[in-house]
Every structure is written in C-alpha cells, then in structure tokens.
C-alpha cells in the first residue's frame, strides 16, 4: 500500500459511540471514538468543567495503563513501551481542553479513545517494532483524528485545529523542508517539527526535536501555517504547485460538508 501524503478521512462509521472518525495520512491510520458528556468517576470529577480523558492504543504492544505497571516492575528497558503513549495522551489532553467548551459540561467526562491501526513500515532498518521512530511522527494524525471525532460527535468546540509534520534539513544556508516526510526522510532530517494551529490561525501545539536555529523555526512556522489554515497565505506559497492541494483546514471543512450533505440526503 502506497503511503499517500494526502489525508483521507471517514466520519461516524462506528455506531455505538457518540462520534467516530478514521483518519489516515502519510502511512499513519488512526481510528478515534468519543463518548461524552458521560458520567464521571468521583475522583476525576471537576466542579466547574468537563474532565477530558484521552486513551491512546498503539498499533503493536501494550499501551494499557495497568498492564504497563507490571512491565515497569519487570524490566526497565521495556518501560519505554507505554510511556510514549502517556506522553502523547498528556499533550492531547491539554490541547483538547483548550478547544472543547468544557465549561458547558461541568461534572461530566468526555472520553476520547484513539487506536493506531497502521504505521508506515521502515524498510531500511527493519528492527524495532514498538519504538521504531520518534513520538512526534504520529502526533499530527492523532490530533487530526481527535478533532474529526469530536466534530462527528457534535461536541461544542471553541475552535477546530489542524496539524502538520515537517522535517527540515539545514546545511549551512540552504534549507530543505519536507512536508509529510517519509520514514527515511524523517530519520535523516536535522530536525522534525509538529505544529498545530487553531482555525483562527493561532499556534496551539509546537513540538520540535533535533538541532535547528530560531530562523529555521520561523520558516517552519510560516510553512506550517500556510499548510494548515488560512487560504490567503496558502495561495501565495502554493501558487506554483498543484491546484488541488488545499490547506488542511479546507480538508476538514470539505470532509464535514460531505458528511452533512449525506446526512441531510433524505430532505431532498
């Protein structure tokens, strides 16, 4: 299966959850489901806002919170399994708290479950299954799935978000930016960046790894912003490129428009 850099999505395909979405891009596929607002356990209850719970299940290995405890006791080297998911969960949790109108649902729980179903195979270093690459590569797919899932569940949001993964090779003066880098490009890159913007164009998440300078980051910021959201700056940068390559925000919009027309089909 070719890893397409173009995103694809499927909305509301799981019928027992309040909202669901499958999102794939760049070889990563994530299924997301959301339940909420539902009853919250007493110890997690917040008096003035909804509690957000994010569960991430990896495509291979144990990501479970409780299994993980025993793994910890058995062998330190394996402890890397599962801790990665906890870290990603905490990034997602603090991000989703900002965009869901949590104050509308005090003393409830909104539970987001994300199952990673496929990751791009690494042809060159066919080695480690679980910790194959850095934890950044999967983050945009997780964020994007989470937002589509929430939209599918019609949970009130303040803004939506879009997220991209960029890899940067910078030798001296010349910089090469890879949008949606392959595994090889990702590993060979000097630095990798994940940025997420709200629909109003504000920077919501920024995670960067590897060596770079502040000027490199500025360029990454501009590129990412053009890829993510506003059509105006997007057009300027993309003029030379293929016409059908809209921003990610357009992708979210068109996916939802499709779903709405399908849902309202009976009216016609």
């Amino acid at each position: 299966m070719a890893n397409s850099a173009e995103p694809t999505a499927l909305l509301s395909h799981l019928h027992r959850t309040d909202g669901s979405a499958t999102f794939s891009q760049n070889g990563y596929t994530v299924i997301g489901a959301v339940n909420g607002p539902i009853e919250v356990q007493r110890r997690d209850e917040l008096p003035e806002e909804a509690a957000i719970e994010v569960n991430i299940r990896p495509s291979a290995g144990v990501g479970g919170q409780y299994l993980n405890v025993f793994v910890f006791l058995l062998d330190l080297t394996i402890s890397v399994i599962g801790t990665r998911e906890r870290h990603l969960e905490s990034i997602l949790q603090s991000t989703l708290r900002q965009i869901i109108l949590i104050t509308n649902f005090p003393r409830t729980l909104i539970q987001v479950t994300l199952q990673i179903t496929s990751t791009p195979e690494n042809a060159t270093t066919g080695s480690k299954l679980v910790q194959a690459s850095s934890n950044l590569a999967i983050l945009p797919a997780l964020l994007q799935t989470a937002i589509l899932t929430l939209l599918s569940a019609s949970i009130p949001l303040a803004v939506t978000l879009t997220s991209v993964l960029l890899a940067l090779n910078s030798n001296g003066k010349s910089r090469t930016t890879f949008e949606a880098p392959t595994v090889v490009q990702f590993q060979a890159a000097d630095s990798v960046h994940v940025l997420a913007f709200t629909s109003q164009g504000e920077l919501l998440v920024a995670e960067s790894e590897g060596a770079f300078t502040l000027e490199d980051w500025d360029e990454i910021y501009e590129t990412a912003k053009a890829l993510c959201c506003d059509e105006t700056t997007g057009e300027v940068i993309m003029q030379g490129e293929a016409e059908n390559k809209g921003s990610l925000m357009d992708f979210v919009k068109s996916t939802l428009e499709e779903k709405v027309t399908k849902d309202l089909h009976w009216k016609d």
């Binding site: 801790t83 906890r86 870290h87 708290r97 270093t125 590993q187 504000e202 790894e209 300078t213």
Partner: protein, 344 residues
C-alpha cells in the same frame, strides 16, 4: 450591641487567601493595586527570574556518574550505572563491512536501536503531597521519562563511539604465509557496548520537574567515568581495568539546557475576553496548578551561536512566534548561569 469582640475584619492571612482562591491571589501579586509595590510572583520572584541552582557531582559512590541538582525546593538525584552488553547477545547483530553496515545509513542511531541509554524517572513517595506510596508510576513520571529519552537521542548528546568496546584481533597470518596479501589484516571489531542506566529520583518536587531532571542528567553524564574495558580472547569475555587513570570520561556533544515557562492569564476561563497574561519562568507547584499553557525550550549556546534542540509547547494559544523569541532570550541567560555551574 453587646458584642465586645473586636470588629471582625474582612481580611484573611495570606495563606488562607492562597488556599481559598489561588488564582486571584497570584493575580493580586502580579498586578498590585498600590503603585509603590513592584509586581512580583507569590514566591517573591519577578516574572522572568529563575531560582538559584545548586549542583553537586559524584556523591553516589557505586554509580559511574552521579549528580544532585537543586533548584529552589525541587531536588533531583541522578545516578548513572554502566553495564556491558555483549555484541553477540544482540539479536540480529552482524559484523558487516563498513559500507553495508546499517550504521552507515543516514539517521541511524545505534544507541537508540540497541537501547544503550535507559532513562527512568521516579517521583519518590513524599517528594510532594501528590504522591502516595504504592501507586503505579504517575502519568507525569511516564511523560517525563519519555521526554528525557527522546531528548537524549534527538540531541545526540552521547557519542556512540564512546559506548563501543573494540577488539583488534592479532595478525596471525604473518607466521605461516609471508606477505601473500597485506590487505588481509584483520579488521578491529566491536565486541561489546556500554549500556547506561540513567536513574532519576526526585527527592522533593516543587514545580518544573523537567528542567531539573535534565540538568541532573547532563551533570551526571559529565561526571561519568567508564573503566577501560577490553576483550580477553582467552577467556572470551570483557574485562575491565581497575585503575582510575585508565578510565575515561564521555565526550558529550554540547551542553543543552532546558528552560520551562508557563503562561498565567488574567482570567481563569480559557475562552475569556481578557487577554492580559504573564510569562512565568521556572514555575513552582503553586503556579503550575494555575496555568494551562507551558513552553519548554532546549537550547545550547556553547558554540557562540544559539542552537535550539527542542521546543515543546502545549495547552494554549498565547505563545506565538514573538513570545517564543522572548523566551529563548531568557533561556540564553539561564544557559550562561547553568553552564558555569555544570562546567566546574
């Protein structure tokens, strides 16, 4: 009125105010009503002031390297144990010719592929009231472990060459057949690797765990002395020299420093209209409970030019490009302060 009790005032002691309504308490400090008092944080520092760091190296006798880092009331002990991993114990490890070896591929990271660096963070019981005995590792501990792990590898701090144990097989061919082909001289081969177990223990935690933990890791890695190890062909095992003189230190690539800041907003509600905010560097636990947005930058100014090694920002939309530049310039000052301590 018959009451003889002193007129009850509507003021609380500071501690009560802080407990009852922490957000207005911190806001009142940052935005004093009287013009005579300077705006400070509740802990007496100004918004851009860091806590004084203290570093003590080599206090653990049984570890290859260790450090105790204290930043305010946050105290971390980091101990590094080195163990030997035999190359023939590595599943699928092949001694390839240098041209086809996986190590020649771009982006190959031997330390990562073989798990030669194993960091683990423990938030000890009693380091802060949030940690009860007998609990599984908290999300915070697991998240911190992952961040330390990925920063260790993405910064390329430890040179893979330092962790290899080489063996030069003796050239035995000379005795039988003289100078038949000189190119047949046996190549040196890697017989084993050093694995560094990096254990980080929080003795007390008062905010900003990542910066303290990372400073402790750097300081302990600088303190590491690996004994001279060699392959003994007769016994077919790795032996280590006893003498300290023959041991050697790790050659670290650069000196990255992590700096965390939080964004404190004037309004508690995240979607409120009031957009006034303060950027608080090196936050303590009290401040961490009141702020959603946090930014960690990892920088290295060692080569004279500021090199960024990581940005990690989540939880809000206040920090944009301009604000980040301000944080980086604060981090540069902190780098100077910490690098003095780390290099002594």
């Amino acid at each position: 009125m018959a009451s003889t009790a002193p007129a009850s005032t509507l003021s609380f002691p500071r501690e009560t105010f802080a407990k009852l309504s922490p957000h207005p308490y911190l806001l009142a400090h940052l935005q004093p009503t009287s013009t005579s008092s300077n705006p400070t944080r509740a802990n007496g520092r100004i918004a851009t002031q860091f806590r004084t760091p203290h570093i003590n190296n080599g206090s653990l006798t049984h570890a290859e390297g260790s450090a105790v880092v204290r930043i305010g009331d946050t105290t971390v002990v980091c101990g590094i144990r080195a163990e030997i991993l035999l190359a023939n114990n590595v599943a699928g490890y092949r001694v390839d010719k240098s041209s086809t070896a996986p190590s020649s591929k771009a982006g190959y990271n031997e330390a990562k592929e073989l798990d030669l660096l194993v960091p683990n963070i423990e938030l000890a019981t009693g380091c802060s009231p949030a940690f009860m005995p007998g609990q599984p590792p908290s999300t915070l501990a697991q998240s911190l472990s992952t961040r330390i792990y990925s920063l260790l590898h993405s910064s390329g701090l430890v040179d893979g060459e330092d962790l290899r144990i080489w063996y030069q097989p003796p050239d035995l061919s000379d005795q039988d057949k003289m100078e038949e082909d000189e190119e047949d001289a046996p190549e040196p081969e890697v017989k084993a690797f050093w694995t560094l177990y990096i254990d980080i223990l929080f003795i007390s935690l008062d905010g900003n765990p990542f910066d303290a933990a990372w400073a402790a890791v750097i300081s302990a890695l600088k303190n590491v002395r690996l004994p001279k190890a060699y392959w003994d062909p007769d016994r077919e095992m790795i032996l280590c020299e006893d003498s300290v003189a023959q041991s050697k230190k790790l050659q670290l690539r650069g000196l990255p420093i992590a700096v965390t800041s939080l964004v404190f907003k004037a309004k508690e509600q995240s979607q409120a209209k009031d957009h006034r905010y303060w950027i608080l560097v090196d936050p303590d636990t009290f401040e961490e409970g009141l702020c959603d947005e946090s930014v960690t930058v990892v920088i290295d100014c060692g080569s004279g030019k500021t090199k960024m090694l990581g940005i990690s920002k989540a939880g809000g939309t206040t920090i944009g490009m301009q604000e980040l530049k301000g944080i980086v310039s604060l981090a540069e000052k902190r780098w100077l302060e910490l690098s003095d301590l780390l290099n002594t």
